[in-house]
Symmetry: C2
Subunit: 356 residues, 2 copies
Amino acid sequence: MKIAILPGDGIGPEIVEQAVQVLNALGETFEMEAAPVGGAGYEVSGHPLPDATLKLAKEADAILFGSVGDWKYDSLERALRPEQAILGLRKHLNLFANFRPAILYPELAEASTLKPEIVSGLDLLIIRELTGDVYFGQPRGVRECPDGPFKGQREGFDTMRYAEGEVRRIAHVAFQAAQKRDKRLTSVDKANVLETSQFWKDIMIDVHKEYPDVALDHMYIDNAAMQLVRAPKKFDVVVTGNLFGDILSDAAASLTGSIGMLPSASLDSNNKGLYEPSHGSAPDIAGKGVANPLATILSAAMMLRFSLGKPEQADRVETAVKKVLAQGLRTPDIYVAGTTKVGTSEMGAAVVRALA
Amino acid sequence: MKIAILPGDGIGPEIVEQAVQVLNALGETFEMEAAPVGGAGYEVSGHPLPDATLKLAKEADAILFGSVGDWKYDSLERALRPEQAILGLRKHLNLFANFRPAILYPELAEASTLKPEIVSGLDLLIIRELTGDVYFGQPRGVRECPDGPFKGQREGFDTMRYAEGEVRRIAHVAFQAAQKRDKRLTSVDKANVLETSQFWKDIMIDVHKEYPDVALDHMYIDNAAMQLVRAPKKFDVVVTGNLFGDILSDAAASLTGSIGMLPSASLDSNNKGLYEPSHGSAPDIAGKGVANPLATILSAAMMLRFSLGKPEQADRVETAVKKVLAQGLRTPDIYVAGTTKVGTSEMGAAVVRALA
Ligand SMILES: CC(C)[C@H](C(=O)O)[C@@H](O)C(=O)O
Ligand SMILES: CC(C)[C@H](C(=O)O)[C@@H](O)C(=O)O
């Protein structure tokens, strides 16, 4: 089993280091190989996704990814900015199915900005399509406005689109995920306005016929953003397109108040996957040893379960994380009075100890 | 001064009736003329925006709009569904500037699902561009996928786009609104992925040169959705495109816990406007006399201020609304123990009395 380790920028290297130590402590033999990505990739090769890094990612069975991005690359042209590395990996590796659980750990309930009765016990799963939509649709760019009252002026434009097969495959992933949970799936779209959404919705309804044990409902994205704040526990599994998924998964994550805890998985159709924390590269705290490594450690657990065929090892890691929380250990992002504040490497070491 | 009264569907007629009574109690002479719209328009003419209704809306100085939509029209083809009426009015009347304040009334603080310290005193203004973006861009529809791995399959598609003049005019509206408030403007986009967004952002930066007294910052839509939940009071004025504005304004409204209180205004470049509550048509409670008319009454206040040149009358109405809240009157949507539950017409009558 070969794992590509792509630490990236900002806090990426420190948090990935802790996840690697957890993987090393499991008593399994994994081949691991690291490569630079994002700003770090740009520094060594002039491109955020160097050829050698892409090659390694393609060869590997799974990818453990830290985070990319730093203000110092803001003035580069878009194609060279760190985020292009993650977009490129998703597209080149066909990682179309993004799993983003939003779970409120009982020990961290206070961290939420929502009232405890609204969020306690929150456990929802957002499944975001990750390789289609307006993220990648062609044509796009800046052109002369072809018609209407602004004809002749410059305009920026993009193409939103979903092909039938693209919607079908994410629909199957979502219905199957719902079957393993509470069997309720909410498909989020904007079918009252967008043709792409109506097309998406019609296919969801069609694929639903193969999963009669799952209850399917449809919600407009504006209402979904509202319901997430008003009654988030009503959701079980949510499936949506790339753009709405980007927004909704961050909104859902923010409900928990501890995005430093939330992992993610991005899978292709053979369960090869890229695993990364849901949070960003946080350049403001990079190198200070205070970043929370738990989202990355939990991403490694998802990797063990989905791509490496080691569900019992995944359970071990997740149990160890719960144990350190129960012990009262907290990185600064989740610290509250009465708990014990620890740094990145202390937290990682505590998880390793808790594996025993 | 001529006001077009478009009550629409669901609870629309009952709440608009109360707003009309408030307008009639001001001691001014307004010419008011009503017309059917949405499902009601479809019933009489076969189209949700009948020609006569559009003609009236064009002639009027301002439009007071209730709400449109009912489940019974769900099976109609999209072009005939009630929502098309509001989209058509926005487009035909060039109502490009949508003002959606999200205000937490101190008396209603408990209604929020967020902790009081996070939302108390919340007062933010979302300015949404309303006639461009992927809402109206051409081409759109279902076609044969022209390239890529799904070539030859059917695909749904839409065009996202913004012309330079379209962005400039909403930028000016937003900077000027910020000048009247705390002089902070956040422009929300997804410039790390979308060409339309990068184009939008560049123009915001350019227009900012004319408003050096306003502080401008930029936020990606996913982060904005997150920050709204984590620290909503950090925002003053937010400006964004049609699609992101749809999502973000509903998310912001939901923070207050009382969307039945929130008005909106949609203006053209001559301050002619359409005024409507931020909530929907709520067909489940239509005709029961329990709907909250305050969002519509407050929309009428915005109309007095923005389109009818009667700011002192607008103040009177807003003060009257605060008075009835202070008296403890509550419709069921905002009711909590210890207050007095009233119906739609009692609430309207109380506002009329409080004007005195
Ligand atoms: C960095 C950015 C391009 C990316 C996205 O929009 O997909 C990020 O927000 C995410 O959700 O992984
Ligand atoms: C009804 C719908 C077309 C509309 C929109 O998306 O603009 C509504 O959600 C709104 O925000 O006014």
